[in-house]
């Protein structure tokens, strides 16, 4: 194809149009999975209790998935958020045990998460450690800290107010936590799409060196993305205690897998620079649905991990194939 032919061929497309194909496919997949689950579960899927629990689970995944999308868009990744969630919950749980009131503890959750995100960012940016390796390290360090904080105890002194506010309160059909997650995603989507900072996130993920030479504050953007993910994870830890008011040493184990699966399934490229929050939203819904289905069908829960792993492999594989096809067109 000559360069001239290339110019005339493709119609004018703008950027959200590029990802639209993926999102339509995800929507179809979502409907298909929902139908399949409702048939296999003989209707128990549509039980209001199950639907509500599904909405809450999705929201708890969606909040950190928003931060994770931004991190992956810059070309980074954070695999430590499972342990991070556990550690935040443990520290916050101690505050609850000490009798601190909810309005004081809620910001503590976010602040602790932000701080742990900052730890990751500093290891990656100051230490020059590749993100996967750095956060793999903190994944096990944070988990160790959970053991140190909790000892052999469980924390059960979670105020029932959490459940009342986030889960039981509903706006229309949606629990409060889902509304919060949707607002967060919508806000972040607007920032990513239309704000200078959001455009810089994409620029960094597309070509870090070019971004540096264009005067984009690459390091600051990468740092903020990890801190933001930490804050989101902190918020998720809080909300998650509303769903199951108990902190134990295994709290949050494997959580990173669901979040990364949701983001990657949503079409965000692990190499960075490409992906949307609408995709992440759909990815989150599918991942939660699949996890829910495994519970409904009384399959042993460890199969959930297998399915999430397969989802990650399949979506990265699909992305890779797409990339090869694009490269061939040159």
């Amino acid at each position: 194809m000559s360069v001239h032919a290339g110019m005339e061929a493709a119609p004018a497309r703008n950027w959200p149009g590029l990802a639209a194909g993926r999102e339509v496919a995800l929507l179809v997949a979502l409907v298909a999975v929902a139908l399949a689950v409702s048939i296999v579960s003989r209707g128990t899927f549509w039980n209001p209790v199950n639907i509500r629990s599904l909405m809450v689970t999705s929201a708890i995944t969606a909040i950190p998935a928003t931060g994770m999308t931004i991190v992956i868009l810059t070309g980074g990744i954070d695999v430590s958020i499972g342990s991070m969630l556990g550690l935040v919950a443990a520290i916050g749980g101690l505050a609850f045990e000490a009798g601190w009131p909810l309005p004081l503890v809620a910001p503590l959750f976010c602040a602790t998460g932000g701080l742990l995100g900052l730890v990751n960012a500093l290891v990656i940016l100051r230490g020059g450690v590749p993100p996967v390796v750095a956060t793999l390290g903190t994944l096990s360090i944070f988990r160790m800290c959970v053991f140190l904080v909790l000892g052999s105890n469980w924390i059960t002194a979670i105020p029932p107010g959490l459940t009342t506010i986030f889960i039981a309160t509903r706006i229309g059909p949606l629990p409060m936590v889902s509304v919060i997650a949707l607002l967060l995603m919508a806000g972040a989507a607007v920032i990513l799409r239309a704000h200078r900072g959001g455009r810089h996130v994409y620029a960094v993920g597309n070509n870090e060196e070019a971004a540096r030479l264009s005067g984009i504050p690459v390091r600051r953007i990468r740092l903020v993305s990890y801190v933001l993910l930490g804050v989101c994870t902190g918020a998720a830890a809080l909300v998650q205690l509303g769903q199951s008011p108990l902190v134990q040493t295994s709290t949050g184990t494997g959580f990173e897998l669901s979040v990364i699966a949701a983001v990657v399934l949503g079409g965000t490229e692990l190499a960075g620079g490409r992906g949307t929050l609408l995709g992440t939203l759909l990815g989150t819904l599918i991942v939660s649905l699949v996890t829910d289905a495994i519970v409904l069908m009384h399959i042993q829960p460890f199969w959930g991990g297998v399915v999430l792993g397969l989802i990650i492999l399949a979506s990265v594989g699909a992305g890779h194939l797409g990339q090869m096809r694009r490269q061939e067109v040159i």
Binding site: M1, S2, V3, H4, A5, G6, M7, A10, A12, R13, N14, W15, L18, A194, H195, R196, G197, R199, H200, Y202, A203, N206, N207, E209, A210, A211, L213, S214, G215, I216, G273, R274, R326, E328
Partner: protein
């Protein structure tokens, strides 16, 4: 009008002195052509000028005032922009976003405002002959020629008064080059200063006002572009008189082969090429010419087993073969030197030795172990044979100049006992002297009886080098010629599909 003077610029990298006191003057309304071999210091000089590196000594003045470029951002703010040979873009972002990356026009909440950005580029789009619709396409969907134009638009939007073009034509087709030359004239008439780096000597009088020749980190000549001849430039760039004879190949009596070493019939690929027939005789150099997208490299890659085909047969030395992988093609005796040195060729962080011998490891296996001494000797021998300049075989290949890297890649293949050697753009982006050396090696290899295929976008080069030519366009073979029939007019006309007296736009079956 802008005027920048660099005086006594010195830059050391480790123990190597890349610039040894360079004086250059850049003036508005003029095109300065910078010539020099690879490693002469051109890129270092450009980096000094764009603030990417700081000189160890020397002075830069702008309009009489001494300035110091702190970083690329600062140099840009002072009106200096560079369009690099390998453009730095954000592939998934749109053209508009690429142009304004880091300089978005925003409201006071930081929200990007598209309309004012479109307004800002619009006048430049017209000047550069780019349609406005292109602004909203991801830049990765544009060809390299258009990407360069976009980057020039970016420089203009930033109100650059000095625009540096680093070998812009090495990847452009003839038509694109003509358009670029027109644009350069417009920019010059507009009072901007252009710094133009090229290896193509024939472009110099067409584009430049002044020529500055860099040799080995020093300025060895300043000339008005109109007065210089190719011969003098060549000598200046090489820093000595040049013994290599000009076109020796076409003059040689081309030996006639009774049966082609490689013969392909009706080879087709669903996307890149259709019904391609090639006959490649042993002991000769067959040139394949065509514009970007003609399918030249893709056919070569199919022969090398790196790209599948839909239909057709490949005959090697009379026997039908169907290499399913490069490894199999190499076992059959087919070699392919790919066109993209950095992406497909070198193992940049590895040693020169490893890069030279990686295709020949099988010969150096001693049971389960490798014969390290043998490998080192082989590498040293190859460095001598192919005059690869490096401190030793242990040098990291990524640190060598492009010309030496390319000679290394050539050596990697030339050292193998091959029946067919395909060379895809074997001299792209390297200086004229190294180019001649590689031509010499190619001819020597052909004389040994290997069937050589050379794919090149440089028409003058391929005409001088080849005994016979095959011209491709739009995935089909459109012309074949040999000897005195190989005129630039005929080959170019076939490649671009211009209707001349001899060639129809239909594929021809003219057996050379």
């Amino acid at each position: 009008m802008i005027s920048i003077t660099l005086s006594g610029i010195v830059k050391n990298f480790g123990g190597v002195r890349a610039l040894k006191g360079v004086d250059v003057t850049i003036s508005g309304g003029q095109v300065l052509v910078l010539l020099g071999e690879n490693g002469a210091g051109k890129s270092t000089l450009i980096k000094v000028l764009t603030g990417a590196i700081r000189p160890d000594a020397g002075r830069i003045t702008m309009g009489g005032d001494t300035v110091e470029f702190r970083d690329p951002e600062h140099a840009r703010a002072l009106g200096i922009a560079a369009v690099y040979q390998e453009p730095m873009v954000y592939p998934h972002l749109t053209v508009l976003e690429n142009i304004f990356a880091g300089r978005e026009i925003c409201n006071r909440f930081g929200m990007v405002r598209h309309q004012p950005m479109v307004e800002r580029v619009r006048p430049w789009l017209a000047a550069l002959d780019l349609p406005e619709a292109v602004l909203h396409r991801p830049i990765s969907t544009l060809g390299l020629g258009h990407v360069q134009l976009v980057l020039i638009a970016q420089a203009l939007v930033q109100e650059a008064r000095v625009i540096i073009l680093d070998e812009p034509t090495s990847i452009l087709s003839r038509a694109e080059t003509d358009r670029l030359v027109g644009i350069i004239q417009t920019l010059r008439a507009d009072g901007r200063a252009i710094v133009y780096i090229t290896h193509r000597l024939e472009e110099v009088p067409r584009i430049g006002d002044h020529v500055t020749v860099l040799t080995d980190g020093r300025v060895t000549g300043n000339y008005p572009a109109r007065e210089v001849t190719g011969e003098t430039l060549l000598q200046l760039m090489a820093g000595r008189t040049n013994p290599a004879p000009a076109a020796e190949a076409s003059a040689e009596g081309a030996p006639q082969a009774e049966r082609p070493m490689l013969s392909i019939r009706g080879l087709s690929h669903p996307r890149y090429f259709t019904d391609v027939d090639w006959d490649i005789p042993a002991g000769m150099i067959t040139g394949i010419y065509g514009l970007v997208g003609a399918g030249r490299s893709e056919v070569a890659m199919s022969v090398f087993g790196a790209l599948g085909t839909r239909a057709g047969t490949i005959l090697l030395d009379g026997a039908q073969v169907r290499p399913a992988s490069p490894a199999e093609a190499m076992r059959l005796g087919i070699g392919y030197l790919p066109e993209d040195r950095k992406r497909q060729g070198i193992f940049a962080p590895q040693s020169l030795e490893g890069n030279l011998t990686c295709n020949a490891l099988a010969r150096f296996c001693r049971g389960p172990a490798l014969d390290f001494r043998g490998l080192a000797a082989e590498a040293a021998q190859m460095m001598r044979t192919y005059t690869i300049k490096a401190i030793g075989p242990g040098t990291t290949i990524g640190t060598l100049s492009g010309g030496n890297q390319q000679k290394g890649l050539f050596a990697r293949w030339a050292a193998l006992p091959l029946k067919v050697l395909i060379l895809d753009e074997p001299t792209r982006g390297i200086d004229i002297r190294t180019k001649q050396e590689i031509h010499h090696f190619i001819r020597a290899r052909a004389r040994e009886g290997t069937a050589i295929i050379v794919i090149s976008s440089d028409l003058a080069e391929i005409l001088a080098l080849s005994h016979r030519m095959i011209v491709m366009r739009g995935g089909r073979v459109v012309d074949r010629c040999a000897g005195t029939e190989m005129t630039p007019e005929r080959v170019l006309a076939a490649a671009i599909g211009a209707a001349t007296s001899s060639s129809e736009p239909q594929p021809q079956r003219q057996i050379a």
